[in-house]
């Protein structure tokens, strides 16, 4: 099984990549690690005329703290996130989520930004980005814009990114005060997509929840931000009743379909249970944190 023929360019600078995309963006697909794109090319679900391989661009990978946020280079692979001492200390939910992605071999090549831009509603990173309030830095020739993860996913495999743009960096707001997160995923076996999964993130201040983020995986046309549940939590004291109510609201936001992984009703209930469990875990982790 092999892809339909395509032209291939592997630019050595970002400028070169953006110039190619300016001319041929409409007919092109950008490839980083290729772990989502190559299977699509092989199945011929995607038949671009041109593949622009950004995998050889320099200085696009790594994690640093920058101006109140955590900046992760677009070519940072899942395995780099999984093994990052910085993220383990600054944003451990990233490490926890990375561990759940595909399998170790895929994690050795697939990238964080590539996975986000692929925008599979069953992808794990989208939910984490929504929960953390991440931003994506996108470059096109002569321009740069910053897109919020909230609103980035416009449909299955569809994003707000333009055909002439490349995501160069992911920005995650640095945690304020005591913070904790959790990624919970139900999968039938290693490497399978989620039956359902959730990313949960809390910040505490003065005994109250100062910020809450909840993202849902594999229960809709995109990764879903559970806005009503987040609102219910924010500014409140974290009680068992509040957590149970937020979990119910998150399940209400899920729009799963029946498939081989489970019925819609089952998946909704998995979301309710996982959000409840995730919020308790995140709360425990936030309280343990030395602020």
């Amino acid at each position: 099984m092999f892809p339909a023929a395509f032209d291939y360019r592997a630019p050595s600078t970002l400028g070169e990549a953006l110039s190619i995309l300016k001319q041929r963006g409409d007919d092109a697909k950008v490839m980083a690690g290729g772990q989502s794109l190559i299977p699509l090319l092989k199945l011929r679900f995607a038949r671009p005329e041109l593949v622009v391989d950004i995998g050889r661009l320099p200085a696009m990978s790594g994690v640093k703290k920058d101006n109140g946020h955590i900046a992760i280079g677009a070519l940072t692979r899942h395995v780099d996130v999984e093994r990052s001492k910085e993220l383990e200390s600054w944003m451990p939910i990233m490490v926890e989520a990375a561990h759940w992605i595909a399998d170790p071999l895929v994690r050795n090549r697939g990238t964080l930004a590539g996975s986000i831009c692929h925008a599979d509603p069953q992808g794990d990173w989208g939910s984490v980005m929504l929960a953390l309030g991440a931003q994506l830095v996108a470059h096109s020739e002569g321009a740069e814009r910053v897109l919020a993860a909230d609103g980035f996913f416009t449909g299955p495999f569809t994003t707000a990114l333009r055909p002439d743009e490349v995501v160069t960096e992911i920005r995650i707001p640095a945690p304020k005060g005591k913070a904790g997160g959790a990624y919970l995923k139900l999968e039938r076996k290693v490497g399978d997509f989620a039956t359902a999964a959730t990313a949960v993130y809390l910040e505490l201040g003065g005994g109250k929840i100062s910020r809450a983020g909840i993202g849902l995986t594999a229960v809709g046309a995109t990764n879903i931000k559970a806005t009503a549940a987040e609102k219910a939590l924010t500014g409140q004291e974290p009680t068992d009743e509040l957590i149970a109510e937020a979990a119910r609201l998150a399940a209400d936001a899920a729009e799963p379909k029946d498939d081989i992984r489970g019925s819609a009703a089952y998946k909704k209930d998995v979301i309710r249970v996982f959000v409840q469990r995730g919020l308790r875990t995140a709360l425990g982790r936030a309280k343990e944190m030395k602020a």
Binding site: F2, P3, A5, A10, G34, P39, P104, L105
Partner: protein, 171 residues
């Protein structure tokens, strides 16, 4: 497109279409048929090779992406007639039944022991979690990797060759 890469230590090249997969380049162009094609859908790990020491699925890498990199296939594990510690472990512990997944399993194990000479059983199981054995021979695969880890440690301690150290262990 012209590509060249180091395969099992030797510089190899070819002229390929961009759509040619690394596994097909290895098997068809270079006749290195030890790398197997299993599911062909990024699920099973039979096509595992090491790129710059890291295990990846060669059915999901374009040959052009591997240009300039260093590749290890199962053919590169033995030194002449001398099996590597991992190969000997699979031999000693019967770490294979039909053998189809074995090249991938051994390459993953080789990379694991390179970075973590003394892995726990859980770490071994985690490392091979992207590789499917349809004979379900996982118990012996895990034992084979443990055997290899012990043999490598014995070599480190005594300086004797891997296979001899493993046999001397009183199997």
């Amino acid at each position: 497109m012209k590509v060249s890469m180091k395969i099992n230590g030797a510089e190899r090249g070819g002229d390929v279409e961009p759509r040619v997969l690394l596994v097909d380049f290895l098997r068809t162009n270079l006749r290195l048929t030890g790398t197997h094609i299993g599911c062909d859908t990024t699920s099973c790990g039979a096509c595992t090779v090491l790129i710059d020491g890291e295990p990846v699925k060669s059915c999901t890498v374009l040959a052009v992406q591997a240009d300039g990199r260093s590749i290890t296939t199962v053919e590169g594990l033995a030194a002449g007639a001398a099996l590597s510690a991992v190969q000997d472990g699979f031999h000693q512990e019967h770490g294979l039944q039909c053998g189809f997944c074995t090249p991938g399993m051994m390459l993953v194990a080789t990379a694991l022991l390179e970075g973590n000479p003394n892995p726990s059983e859980e770490q071994i199981r985690w490392a091979i979690s992207g590789n499917i054995c349809r004979c379900t021979g996982y118990m012996n695969i895990v034992k084979a990797i443990q055997h290899a880890a012990k043999a490598k440690a014995a070599v480190q301690a005594s300086g004797t060759p891997a296979a001899a150290a493993a046999t001397a262990g009183g199997e």
